[in-house]
């Protein structure tokens, strides 16, 4: 079996297993390349028709291209789309330029997701995170319990041997399931190429720049790149050494730093 098929089979197995264990399940879709690939795998797992809702957490600050893509494919793929939004905070003017960026993420992403989970009573979520994305994710498991405060105690998780996943949790907790944890950024693009999965145009170079990782418009910076097609991106990744989240991590670190500096009377 070739590498991509092996990865695909593993992902589909996890998706089906998750659906079998949890009926109150949903998949998170940020419209980025990973979660769009995850959605594609969900469609394959259930022969084109995803039997559970698809959640998009809308901070209201996403790129216009993201909204356009979401609406187009929600229709084309006949998705049961739930849009989660912290309307109250958005109305109050919460945004990345108002106060600390961490507050903005917390209110418009984390709390919006908490409210959506509570409202619909989801017990499990499928997420498109990958092990190679960030240092801390190396410790992630395929089935990863979160407590009621969304806290993840990574030091208290059982070993996952072969396909023996821990899939029971305390009341109030929900499970995060990561069907593409084992894929790398390069695997994703190769799979996108093989399957011809549609992707938002933000990933493709225009005027020497493209987005390698997308989120909210004010907090993402494009990277210098001439890669205008999936083939170009694969070639670029095979020779690149910079981090995928290079355009994003800085913001979070800066927000922390600014808060620290303020606590000592600077700024």
């Amino acid at each position: 079996m070739d590498h991509l098929t092996e990865l695909e089979n593993k992902s589909i197995f996890i998706i089906r297993e998750a659906y079998y264990r949890f009926k109150d399940i949903a998949v998170l879709w940020s419209i980025g390349k990973d979660s769009t690939t995850l959605l594609w795998l969900c469609r394959k797992a259930f022969f084109g028709k995803i039997p559970f809702p698809v959640i998009h957490i809308d901070t209201s600050y996403k790129f216009p291209e993201i909204y356009a893509f979401r609406d187009e494919y929600a229709k084309k793929w006949n998705l049961n789309l739930i849009v989660g939004k912290n309307e109250e905070e958005i109305k109050k003017g919460m945004g990345p330029t108002k106060g600390a960026k961490l507050d903005c993420c917390n209110e418009l992403k984390t709390n919006a997701l908490k409210a959506t989970i509570a409202k619909h009573g989801f017990k499990a979520l499928l997420l498109g995170i990958r092990r190679d994305e960030h240092g801390i994710r190396a410790k992630e498991r395929v089935f990863s319990p979160r407590d009621e405060n969304f806290k993840w105690n990574y030091e208290d998780q059982p070993a996952e041997l072969w396909d023996q996943y821990k899939s029971t949790a305390e009341e109030d907790n929900h499970f995060r399931i990561h069907p593409i944890l084992h894929m790398t950024e390069l695997d994703i693009w190769k799979y996108v190429q093989r399957e011809n999965i549609p992707m938002t145009e933000l990933y493709f170079s225009k005027g020497g720049k493209r987005y390698r990782s997308i989120g909210c418009k004010p907090c993402c910076s494009p990277v210098e790149s001439e890669a205008a097609t999936v083939d170009d991106i694969i070639r670029e990744l095979e020779t690149s050494h910079t981090s995928e989240r290079a355009g994003r991590a800085q913001d979070k670190e800066d927000a922390y730093t600014m808060q620290k500096l303020r606590s000592l009377g600077y700024m």
Partner: protein
């Protein structure tokens, strides 16, 4: 013979952030620092030392570790502006343009150079190993011949530590890169607990690395001193102050830790190692905060658009603005997008500013500004162009700040201590004097001269 030589060439530096020489002298005299006293009696001198200007940790520590001035290392403060814009950014380890001591001795300068580096070119033929713990302005950790965990500001311990194994260890002992200073005002007891806990963790980690790693140069910095001083320096000399007891107890703990590290080091080197302690600036009691941008506004030099953020607020007609603590930049045409001072007018604007700054007095008529320097008087090197046009130092008691949100020139916050540029300290072995008043930029050279002895 080789082992013996390598052993004696070892350097242990204990950095005590913001510890003033006058406070050490005073506390030793009062018998509050018995171990410091004993160490001095065994053959060391306590020196008063000048910090970098501005006397903030990011600049001063970078001057220490590179042994050169800000125009060579490029760090003028905790924040700076992106070239050609008013966009603020936080310089990090990658912004440091000159190699640090550990890069010079470890062969990891990687193209960065400096006057100091040139001086030692070719000397360290065999790379020496360093353990660098908690020095500010070293985040994210850059690969070195040794171990490094970054000091203030370290938003991510993993990214701030090299190699991975060192992170695993620090993480396993619950090492804290910094305490939460936001608690000092509202939850004092919690803050004190955290300060003592952080101190203990540092001791544990420093001892671990001293014993379990190979090294020639070891630098460990304690940050909690600076944190205690910012919020409780008014308690330092006042036995009637409600926090005097905890302040003195904290220093007692510091005394114990420094003694332990010194003893361990002397045991390791048969009493021949080069031991020193130093600070990046001094401290004194704060009576007033002085908001330089509010003053510039009042004097008609600065106009702000309150709808924007940070320095993007700088509005049409602005002639000058200030960045922390009191770096003043002329809003020069061609240098900034909204620059409106023509090159030919710059000198006149600076003269005008200097005259008025000299006249800045508080409500009781006391002058605020002690010294006004022009950038070109302080800085020389390839990065002098991005430095400030003027830098002010204040008389003790007046803490200069560049907060953009203040309307009044004078105010008070939660802070009772402020940095001083002239009262940093350095404890050096007798005989290692330079013959002149010590400046923080001198130390790297002294350390390198000693380490050189370990190279055959």
């Amino acid at each position: 013979m080789t082992t013996m030589q390598a052993k004696t060439a070892k350097v242990l530096l204990v950095g005590l952030d913001g510890v003033p020489s006058t406070l050490l002298a005073n506390y030793m005299e009062k018998g509050l620092l018995p171990s410091f006293k004993k160490i001095l009696e065994s053959g060391y001198n306590l020196h008063q030392m000048d910090a970098s200007i501005p006397d903030v940790s990011s600049t001063s520590w970078t001057s220490f570790m590179t042994g050169v001035n800000p125009a060579e290392h490029g760090i003028y403060g905790f924040t700076d502006l992106r070239p050609g814009s008013y966009r603020i950014f936080v310089p990090n380890s990658a912004s440091v343009r000159a190699p640090a001591i550990w890069d010079i001795i470890g062969g990891t300068a990687n193209g960065r150079t400096s006057t100091l580096h040139e001086y030692y070119r070719g000397v360290f033929k065999r790379p020496l190993r360093s353990i660098v713990l908690n020095i500010p302005q070293t985040f994210p950790a850059i690969e070195l011949n040794g171990v490094l965990t970054a000091g203030f500001v370290c938003p991510d311990l993993r990214k701030g530590t090299y190699p991975e194994k060192a992170y695993d260890y620090l993480n396993s002992i619950g090492y804290l890169s910094d305490v939460d200073s936001a608690k000092a005002a509202s939850r004092k007891d919690e803050f004190f607990n955290e300060v003592f806990a952080a101190l203990e963790k540092r001791m544990t980690a420093y001892e671990h690395f001293m014993k379990n790693e190979e090294w020639d140069f070891f630098a460990g910095v304690i940050t909690e001193t600076d944190r205690m001083h910012h919020f409780f320096f008014d308690a330092a000399y006042d036995p009637g102050h409600p926090d005097h007891e905890v302040f003195v107890r904290f220093y007692g703990e510091l005394d114990r830790i420094v003694a332990r590290l010194h003893r361990l080091f002397m045991d390791m080197t048969d009493g021949t190692g080069f031991f020193l302690t130093m600070s990046d600036h001094g401290f004194t009691v704060l009576n007033n905060e002085v908001y330089m941008n509010a003053w510039l506004r009042k004097e008609g030099f600065l106009s702000l658009d309150g709808k924007k953020e940070y320095f993007e607020q700088v509005d049409a007609g602005t002639k000058a603005f200030a960045m922390d603590p009191a770096r003043i930049y002329v809003n020069l045409e061609g240098k900034y997008p909204g620059g409106c001072v023509a090159a030919g007018e710059k000198e006149a604007v600076m003269r005008d500013l200097k005259e008025r700054l000299k006249g800045l007095v508080d409500g009781e008529g006391r002058p605020v500004i002690r010294e006004i320097y022009e950038g070109r008087e302080l800085y020389s090197g390839p990065h002098s162009g991005v430095g400030p046009d003027l830098v002010c130092l204040a008389h003790d008691g007046f803490d200069l700040k560049a907060n953009l949100k203040k309307d009044e020139v004078f105010g008070r916050g939660n802070f009772t201590g402020m940095h001083t540029s002239y009262d940093a300290h350095c404890i050096l072995p007798k005989g290692v004097e330079t013959g002149m008043r010590l400046h923080i930029e001198h130390l790297a050279g002294l350390i390198l001269d000693h380490l050189k002895n370990g190279i055959e």
